[in-house]
Amino acid sequence: MTTLSLTDIQAISERHPDVFASSWRKRLTGWAVGAGFVAYLAFAWWFFAVGAVMAGGNWGIAGTYLADWVSYEIRPQVAFKDGHLEVSYPRFSSYRPDRHPDWLDITQPAGATIAGNKAPADRVVAYIGGTTQIDIAAQRVVVSHGGQTLDVTIVPRQSISVAGALPIWATQKAPGEKILADFGFAGGLQIDEEDVKIRHRFFGWENFFFDANSPFWGMSTSEVVSLMTSDQRLDPKMSNAALAWDNIVNNSEWQHGDVWLKLMQTIVMAFVGTLFASVLAFPLAFLAARNITQNRLVNQVTKRFFDFLRSVDMLIWALFFTRAFGPGPIAGISAIFFTDTGTFGKLYSEALENIDDKQREGMRSVGASPASVQRYGVVPQVLPVLISQSLYFWESNTRSATIIGAVGAGGIGLKLWEAMRTNSDWENVAYMVLLILIVVFVFDNISTALRQRLIGGKASH
């Protein structure tokens, strides 16, 4: 192995300065471009007031929103009354005074009756996770978590006082004010002189199959199956299996039937829009291709027409057609159809202009009619490429259809947008996103597989 000494290296670089030292201008260009980008980003930071907006953001809620994607909370509320307690649940909860979650241990007074939406109790013990325990009596709340205990004495509707120091997981702004305790993901609670609000978070999607009004609610899978196959009808009008299916489809929280219908609309929008655009763009591309239609004027007019369709954005078409046809998939179909006729026209005519001329010559030399020349001399060459391009856009349009749906063209996009606007249905958003991802993934694979069969080898895109 040859080793260069330092003097050798220097000698070589002296002899060829142009190779070893790039010109200052070249070096400066790199720095200038970098500085330009940084300056631009600084300008954008100021232009969009990024700092102020970020600081003004409600970041505390972001964690809850994210957690809502994959989990849910059950929020029982225990109010202090004179000498006893009252357990209640928020309005849309699955639990009712006659149906408590199993982690809530309620001691009812003898001979008590449930009045309205409140259940009377002498003592309520809530178990959150393995080690956390909340013990609520008429005038005292004892919370033990992580080896520490919070002991609160309450005079109903008057005052609360803590015995000893607050544990690290509890906060109180000032003595006598409400106490907040946080157990991390598992939940937390809020104690004041009126009531105790418990939050217990569970991983998963609540009531995904059956909502709280369904007779199948809260059953295990085997129980549901055995009930479905049982002869004793819950509803005399239909069999239990049909009732179960009906309950799933019409689940009031997840709206499965509606979500599937909207998803179908989006799929249909993309499919029909792409197909129609391909069918119309195909003959038009022959008019636009210079080598096929020997008329500059026709070529130019057709090409500018394509440019026009493409450049008026899909959004504008979508807004227009929503006005013309009313909200729904036809508006979406038309928007995709108009935009993609332009795109396909451009791509197809470019493909036509790049064909091999020998096959047309061959057809012409045997005296074929002009139509036959196109049919046998041109189409076989370009058809696989054209279909492949349409398939590629089919998949991409499924995604576009979701977005234009949100501006009023219907489909899952609109439903997704509505679910996000309420700020409380993030689990529904997660469900719809999951469905969209599955559809896009499946279509992507179908489209890639078909394209590979059509043009062979590695499908380009």
Binding site: L315, F325, R399, A406
Partner: protein, 316 residues
């Protein structure tokens, strides 16, 4: 016609079978397509608010609502000049939207909003380029031998690419207030995924001789990437980024329409409020901008990578 020999007959029979099967496949495919299409059309018509064939005669009705009182109204709306029809309503309040820069010098409202949208697209493209650039080398099979790393980076890019932009925008709209930043975040994340994928495919097709040379003299991994690969792939990277910029201008307009600010929102509002002159002014502005950005990007790309065609217009 001469009779064929045994071998000739076999060949002919095989050809017939092959042709027959082919025709069967074509016909079968067409029938399938036709059934799917009719089913889809029926479904779309059933579900739509206005039935297709009932609405078709009224198809161009909405264009009546797009006719301004006189053609100059479009210009007045575009440049925020006072309208002679001004009656105090939102419809003719063109000068209200002026964005005063200094003194009496102002920027018309829609030009400002268009600039906002272009800036959203530009910032997102730069962010997407920067992150896509870093990630793509980790996803390329010719540079990274650790399968798990490649797998992880690729799946990450795929998720970014497939995740609906509108959901990211909606999520950040809920946390931040209305405005362009949710749009920037949404479009940037999608751009990282889309560019990262295109970039690592370019890197995988790079000539590895330069890399080999650098490895021979003991270059470490960053040096090999920076001096061996980057100079080769940079023109292609930039050209893809420009293509992405075209797409992002459209994407940020759409995200704008669902609450991300910019020209998209202005367009949605003016269409829904029947402000015909404003609508036409915005469409004109948007059309010219998109054409200009497309032309500029096409020209730059041609300078960067020559006549090499990008097979697909959208590339996402």
């Amino acid at each position: 016609m001469t009779m064929l020999s045994e071998a000739g007959l076999t060949v002919e029979r095989h050809w017939r079978e092959l042709a027959g099967r082919r025709r069967l496949h074509t016909i079968g495919g067409l029938i399938l397509l036709f059934v799917a299409l009719s089913g889809s059309l029926w479904f779309a018509n059933e579900i739509n608010a206005g039935k297709f064939f009932d609405r078709l005669p009224h198809f161009f009705d909405f264009t009546d609502q797009l006719m301004p009182r006189d053609p100059y109204e479009i210009g007045r709306a575009l440049f925020d000049l006072p309208s002679p029809y001004a009656d105090g309503s939102l419809k003719f309040d063109y000068p209200e939207g002026r964005v005063h820069l200094f003194g009496a010098f102002y920027m018309p409202e829609y030009v400002y909003k268009m600039l906002e949208t272009i800036n959203i697209a530009l910032v997102s493209t730069i962010i997407g380029f920067a992150f896509g650039f870093v990630l793509c080398f980790l996803a390329a099979s010719n540079l990274v031998t650790q399968r798990w790393l490649r797998f992880f980076v690729r799946r990450f890019l795929e998720i970014l690419r497939a995740f609906p932009e509108i959901v990211i925008a909606g999520f950040f709209l809920a946390i931040l207030s209305m405005g362009p930043i949710p749009a920037i975040i949404a479009v940037s994340l999608h751009t990282i995924g889309a560019l990262g994928k295109l970039f690592f495919e370019v890197v995988e097709n790079a000539d590895m001789k330069a890399d080999e040379g650098l490895r021979a003299v003991g270059g470490n991994w960053p040096e090999r990437v920076w001096f061996g690969i980057v100079p080769q792939v940079m023109p292609n990277f930039l050209s893809y980024a420009l293509l992405r910029l075209e797409i992002n201008v459209r994407a940020s307009t759409i995200i704008g329409a669902v609450g991300g600010g910019g020209i998209g929102e202005a367009l949605r509002l003016s269409i829904s409020r029947n402000h015909e002159a404003k609508t036409l002014a915005i469409i004109l502005l948007l059309f010219c901008t998109i054409v200009a950005v497309d032309q500029l990007s096409a020209w730059l790309r041609k300078k960067l990578v020559g006549e090499q065609a990008f097979a697909f217009g959208r590339g996402d």
